[in-house]
């Protein structure tokens, strides 16, 4: 195992990268500048504690920079859970698909103002819907209390969605069935296709980022995503879902 001095040197050598990566994690989750600074301090403390135990576990099986980015992404989950509690998307969002999940997460979990969330979704290529149309999507989801405190004066750019009753419209049993159908349909796809679809439509990654993160060439990935979506849509329709609903679930 590397000694403390060498781990400290590694930490210091990577400090600039750590700070940039921590800031980028925070941007992805719509954190304010103060929250971003707080998370960066939290992450650096975690990397330093127990004589740089996180760095000591590095086995050089990957680039140190990639390892640190993954570690920071994991630390962000800890930070979020410590400060704002755990989060799960609502059943209604899961039924509506990736766009609804991402929108719900940004607005209710991360407390990003609707206008900013809409801009984030559009700029990352997850949707072309307008603010008004996205407000409509949000209105189909149950209103939830964010565990994250809202900074004073942050203000939502749009009116908060009206308390929603859409879950009431669906019988609980029917909702469970739909969710199970979606889950089972996805599970019938090859694992890599499941990951591709979820990264693209649930997590909102660009095709370039997906290609890089899975070590796949980018150009053929467009065709492959299209094929995976067609396959998934067919499975959803075979399971009794209407064509329109299947397309909506897959953000088509």
């Amino acid at each position: 195992m590397a000694d403390r001095q060498s781990l400290e040197a590694l930490f210091l050598a990577q400090l600039g990268w750590i700070e940039r990566a921590a800031a980028a994690v925070c941007r992805r989750h719509g954190l304010s500048a103060d929250e971003s600074a707080d998370f960066t301090s939290f992450a650096k403390l975690k990397l330093v504690e127990n004589d740089y135990a996180v760095l000591a576990r590095f086995r050089a099986e990957s680039a140190i920079t990639t390892y640190l980015v993954v570690v920071l992404s994991m630390l962000f989950r800890d930070y979020r859970a410590q400060h704002w509690g755990r989060w799960r998307p609502s059943a209604a969002a899961r039924r509506q698909g990736g766009l609804a999940i991402r929108l719900e997460t940004l607005v209710y979990r991360d407390r990003v103002p609707l206008g900013q969330a809409a801009e984030m979704l559009r700029s990352s290529g997850q949707t072309e819907l307008s603010d008004r149309e996205l407000a409509g999507v949000l209105a189909q989801l149950p209103a939830r209390n964010s565990p994250r405190p809202t900074p004073v004066g942050s203000g939502l750019t749009g009116d908060p969605p009206a308390p929603n009753r859409s879950d009431d419209f669906l019988h609980a049993e029917e909702a469970d069935t739909q969710e199970r159908v979606i889950r089972e349909a996805l599970e019938r796809l090859p694992a890599e296709d499941q990951v591709l679809l979820r990264l693209r439509f649930w997590e909102g990654l660009s095709v370039a980022d997906i290609a890089r993160s899975l070590g796949l060439p980018q150009k053929p990935l467009y065709r492959r995503l299209e094929r995976a979506m067609t396959h998934a849509r067919r499975l959803l329709e075979q399971a009794g879902m209407s064509k329109e609903y299947a397309r909506a679930v897959l953000n088509e």
Partner: protein
């Protein structure tokens, strides 16, 4: 930490394209089952994408999977062949030793996927603001060219177009001002213009340019600097496998006999020769220091 059951380094290795097929399949199955693990993967991928596109310094890795199999277009091949032919026909080249280039070192890094370390533009050698490269000694020029040629290959293979273009232009400027340097500079100019091409397309040109650049300057210094830069990158990324190869020992033995080394290189080489044969994980701090010092001496 209350985290999904996932090894962060395995996930990082997946993103760097370094997992064996079986491990990759297992990890993808895990990601498909675990939304928590997938969220971490997605966050890390988005962050890497953002940082890499912004900085152009730390670059995405190209795995064998990602590297396409396109062949060099005929017109491009012809241009490269003409340029290479012009360069190699220069009388200067026949008078020098064979195999001067450091392509083998960067190839060893490429096998495992390599990244340009952050801050790669902060060169270890002494520079004077406003100084022109014309004033460099042949040895310093060779040292810089050897190191830059390794950085260029890494940039090309990791698809860092901006860095590749910048490095190729830097090499062109460095080598263009010396007698008979114009053909080599022309090759690097072409490489700068074609920085976005597939690595397989560019590599033959880079090989020829590196061969010519080594012969054009001080071949031994060029080769030693190429090794030092490849080692510096391997050390920055804590890759013990790079230093466990027996090639390092024989290279250091060879380097100790070079007559044209600048003052100050010998003690650093001696320290490296004592340190590197040791099995296991090297002393990274000492390696970082000594390799930077060696490059400083060679390029100044």
């Amino acid at each position: 930490m209350n985290q999904p059951d996932i090894d962060p380094e395995k996930l990082a290795a997946l993103m760097d394209g370094r997992l064996a097929d079986a491990e990759r399949t297992d990890l993808l199955a895990h990601l498909a089952r675990s939304p928590e693990a997938l969220e971490i993967h997605a966050d890390a991928a988005a962050v890497l994408g953002e940082l890499e596109s912004k900085s152009g310094k730390v670059v995405p890795l190209v795995s064998p999977r990602a590297a396409g199999g396109r062949r060099l277009p005929p017109r491009w091949l012809a241009a490269a062949a003409i340029l290479a032919g012009v360069a190699l026909a220069g009388p200067l080249f026949y008078a020098t030793r064979s195999d001067p280039d450091g392509a083998g070192f960067s190839a060893r890094l490429r096998e495992h996927g390599a990244l340009l370390p952050a801050g790669v533009d902060d060169r270890p050698w002494t520079t004077v603001r406003g100084a022109v490269t014309d004033a460099l000694t042949p040895g310093a020029r060779a040292g810089r060219a050897g190191a830059l040629s390794v950085d260029l290959e890494i940039a090309v293979w990791s698809r860092d177009t901006a860095a590749a273009s910048r490095l190729a232009s830097e090499l062109a400027a460095l080598l263009g001002g010396v007698p008979a340097g114009a053909p080599v500079a022309a090759m690097y100019h072409v490489a700068a213009q074609r920085a976005a091409a597939q690595p397989e397309e560019l590599q033959p040109l880079l090989d020829r340019a590196a061969d010519a650049a080594g012969k054009l300057t001080e071949p031994d210094v060029y080769r030693l600097a190429a090794w030092a830069e490849a080692s510096r990158i391997a050390a920055a990324q804590r890759r013990p496998e790079f230093f466990q190869a027996g090639e390092n020992r024989s290279l250091l033995e060879w380097a100790s006999e070079i007559k044209t080394l600048p003052e100050g290189a010998a003690p650093v080489l001696e320290r490296l020769r004592s340190a590197l044969p040791s099995p296991g994980v090297p002393d990274w701090t000492a390696l970082d220091r000594d390799l930077a010092e060696l490059l400083r001496v060679l390029g100044s």
